[in-house]
Symmetry: C2
Subunit: 186 residues, 2 copies
């Protein structure tokens, strides 16, 4: 094994992580070779060495973020109680506000690059696969509402907290008569 390549891969990932921090702070429009290099503490030409173009760097960042998003979302959606889901959503629009904003900016990036769509909506596909919803329509509403609550939480005057979101999530999970199970098993 080549120790040089190992360090190279580490640096490559460091550059991607720095890119995400730049997006969190200044938005996608703030991403330049130089701003990323400065954030990562590497010379200006390092991003160009590891990525063919600025576009490739953004794409790599989106793919990485999408992967992390899947991990976070899935065990929450599949196994969480209403309160846990509400708490997680509240954190996304408060403590992790910058991160959530960055995720949606990258999300929209996929709207203009067909080849990125699959990565951007992977957590949606995975959610369906994991939960195996008894009522596909209700579950689709559930997933859509999560995106809507998050994006609306980002432009709220004061972002909603756990207590405000809990009844909404409850409604989504149980429906208004509590009669329909969310998954087909159990």
């Amino acid at each position: 094994m080549d120790g040089r390549k190992a360090r190279g891969e580490k640096k490559r990932r460091a550059i991607v992580e720095a890119t995400l921090r730049v997006i969190e702070r200044d938005g996608v429009s703030g991403v330049t070779h130089r701003s990323v290099a400065r954030e990562a503490g590497v010379p200006t030409t390092a991003p160009t060495y590891y990525f063919a173009s600025l576009d490739d760097l953004l794409i790599a960042t989106l793919l990485w973020v999408a992967e992390e998003l899947c991990d976070d979302m899935l065990d929450i959606i599949a196994r969480g109680t209403a309160r846990e889901i509400a708490s997680s959503l509240a954190r996304a629009v408060n403590e992790n506000r910058a991160r959530t904003l960055a995720e949606y900016e990258l999300y929209l990036l996929a709207g203009r690059r067909p080849e990125l769509k699959a990565a951007a909506r992977r957590w949606l596909d995975l959610a369906v696969e994991v939960v195996r919803p008894a009522d596909p329509v209700a579950f689709r509403v559930f997933l859509a509402a999560i995106d809507g609550l998050l994006i609306q939480g980002l432009i709220a005057d004061v972002a909603p907290d756990e207590d405000e979101l809990e009844p909404i999530v409850s409604f989504l999970i149980c429906g208004r008569d509590d009669s329909t199970p969310r998954t087909s098993e159990q």
Copy 2:
């Protein structure tokens, strides 16, 4: 009245409309004084004359889009049947895809400028005011789901059509037991 100012206002609006077209075509990142001027058919310095900065131009565009969005959304939400709402959503992610994408990019802009939040979520506030929902939680889910369906429709492999969205909208309006009225009047 000053005919010069009248023509000035007209030109100002033409520049804003050109900006929106640029965003639809190339995204917010494609907006520069020169690209907007070219699109509007005015000299390079015209946008600078009418707007203090590029930022101000984007803000003016967001405010204008937000206003139009209110008109479109409201009579659909307040008075439309499930099929009509589904049809409208389908149009937003198909024929009007570019426009919808532009709207969400501007939407996220508001996420980074507190002073723009009110404009970006104005249609949400208006919707609540117009519909006067009997069940506020259910209505909030309804509004969140609209945003979620649209944004997810933008990154779908093939955007959903009216027939695909109709049962989902139906579910949102009526609930799964059709027993809860959407508005308190009637």
